[in-house]
């Protein structure tokens, strides 16, 4: 059984239809990437899964449970964490408090402390700055915090929205390596939305290409990376 199954999902913003019937499935343990141009609807898809926006048709099924249009706070409790576009760090909270908020639905202090250490070992920079307010972090550090914070719910599935956006190449490489580590070592399944198709397809097992609200192509990450049209459109090759 797929971990996450999205069937014929439709989302509208007023008169604009952002998703026109999208179906994808994510197998447990995988990294699945969703690539596509600006405005294709990638973030919209993640928002619909995590409950930030309502779908007008279709279904989202997680671990066999229909979670379509559940409020966001209940989706987290069921095991899906979303590191959203724009990171949405709480600028008025310290790094530590941001991470603690990530673990909000959990009660076991010992386990939370353990996971906090785990985030610090993945992102030592956060440990150095754990008293600092979230708003004073650099863009790259905020991205680490957004991923770390999403991990703090100990989710079975992580939704990552463009973790490489606005970050220098060295840090991008490090962040992608960390994503692989989170997936392999901690067993979190990952749905990764990226514009950086090249890197994303390298670490993913499976991929989808979203074009103006519908899936234009899907396949193993290798197949997509080798696809002529994709190479031209998304991998910057002539």
């Amino acid at each position: 059984m797929s971990l996450l199954e999205i069937r014929n999902l439709q989302v509208k913003y007023g008169a604009i239809t952002a998703l026109k019937g999208v179906s994808i499935s994510v197998e447990p343990g995988q990294i699945v990437t969703m690539i596509g141009a600006n405005g294709a609807g990638k973030s919209t898809l993640l928002r619909a899964v995590s409950g930030l926006i309502k779908a007008c048709a279709g279904n989202v099924v997680f671990e066999g449970v229909d979670i379509t249009n559940l409020p966001a706070h209940r989706v987290v409790a069921l095991g899906i964490s979303h590191a959203p576009e724009g990171r949405m760090i709480f600028a008025n909270l310290s790094v530590r408090e941001n991470l603690e908020m990530g673990a909000y639905p959990r009660a076991n202090k010992g386990e939370i402390g353990h996971d906090l250490e785990r985030v610090f070992s993945l992102f030592p920079r956060l440990k150095e700055r754990f008293k600092q307010s979230g708003g004073t972090l650099s863009g790259g550090e905020q991205q680490m915090l957004a991923i770390g914070r999403a991990m703090m719910a100990r989710p079975r599935m992580l939704l990552l929205d463009e973790p490489s956006l606005g970050i220098g190449p060295i840090l991008v490489k490090a962040i992608f390596e960390t994503i692989v580590e989170i997936n392999r070592e901690l067993g979190m399944t990952i749905l990764l939305v990226e514009q950086n198709a090249h890197q994303a397809l390298k670490i993913a097992q499976y991929g989808y290409v979203l074009e103006t609200g519908h899936i234009a192509l899907e396949g193993s990450a290798g197949d997509i990376a080798r696809n002529e049209q994709i190479r031209k459109a998304y991998l910057g090759e002539a």
């Binding site: 930030l52 966001a72 706070h73 949405m88 008025n92 909270l93 408090e97 908020m101 990530g102 909000y104």
Partner: protein
């Protein structure tokens, strides 16, 4: 000299009552970005709960104020919390997606409802608030008279403010409140139930208003259903003065308004008692709309 000291103590005492009310305005603004104009009337209801309850509770504890007074405080705080939470659920929550102006007008409606409802239920005539804090004289020199109730007001307000500070900055739900005040969507992605946090904020704000009401009525024992209007407006000015949304600012603003009012009444004329807060409001809006401790970000309200 001692007259000045006298005025300062009276001013701090009055100011700490305004501060308690101002904290409610500022917290609710912080979470929902609108001014809960019914807050002053929740304060009034607190005084009436105290009024009806005090004789019974006192009788229950054989006239011992040491136990009766805290019990009255507690019940009034619980009663106002329920009222605040109900107002939010019934009147504000359904309007949350609507423009802020709609909610603001609704808040004024709720305020009028409580004021006129209060006149119906409690009667429009002033009532004498029973003694909950004995007003013995603690210090009595030639020109300085400090009553135990001034001291009680200041101490109670201080304790409540420290408690609030602890809740907001050192507990999980307090951190969630700050997260929600920063960004509702981001907070909901953390698994925070926004509605619960908003209700909790109304509990905090309304229970502080209830405590303020009992303190206020212990100093000015004539209570009536419209008694919340002026303290409410003054506390609102205090919150704006301190920087709306800022807790420390609300406390500071309350003290400044209380002190200014006491000085103006004492040294200029009691006629200006209620006018002074509004003059201050006009000055802030002209010179520093973000308030003393507020950030200088342009904010559309």
């Amino acid at each position: 000299m001692s007259e000045l000291l006298q005025q300062i103590i009276n001013g701090i005492s009055l100011g700490s009552i305004y501060a308690l009310i101002a904290l409610g305005y500022t917290m609710i603004y912080g979470i929902l970005r609108f001014i809960n104009f019914a807050h002053g009337d929740v304060f009034m209801v607190g005084a009436f709960i105290g009024f009806y309850l005090a004789p019974r509770i006192k009788a229950l504890f054989g006239g011992s104020l040491l136990i009766a007074t805290p019990v009255v405080f507690l019940i009034a705080m619980i009663g106002c919390s329920l009222l605040g939470v109900t107002i939010e659920k019934l009147a504000y929550r359904p309007l949350r997606p609507q423009p802020k102006l709609t909610v603001l007008i609704t808040a004024i409606g709720v305020s009028l409802f409580l004021e006129f409802g209060g006149q119906l239920v409690f009667g429009p005539d002033p009532k004498l608030f029973p003694t909950l804090i004995p007003s013995s004289t603690v210090i009595n020199t030639q020109n300085l008279v400090v009553g135990s109730n001034s001291i009680a007001v200041i101490v109670t307000a201080l304790v409540l403010m420290l408690l609030l500070r602890f809740v907001v900055y050192n507990t999980k739900i307090g951190t969630a409140m700050r997260a929600v005040s920063y960004n509702h969507r981001a907070a909901s992605l953390m698994g925070i139930n926004i509605d619960t946090v908003i209700s909790f904020t109304f509990v905090l704000g309304s229970s502080l208003a209830a405590a303020a009401a009992i303190l206020y009525a212990s100093v000015y024992p004539s209570i009536n259903p419209l008694m919340g209007i002026f303290p409410g407006l003054k506390a609102f000015v205090a919150a704006v003065l301190g920087g709306i949304g800022n807790l420390a600012g609300a406390a500071l603003g309350g003290l400044i308004i209380g002190l200014t009012e006491t000085f103006v009444v004492g040294y200029i004329s009691p006629t200006f008692r209620d006018a002074i807060a509004f003059s201050i409001l006009i000055l802030i809006l002209l010179f520093k709309p973000s308030g003393i401790m507020g950030k200088d970000e342009p904010e559309k309200v």
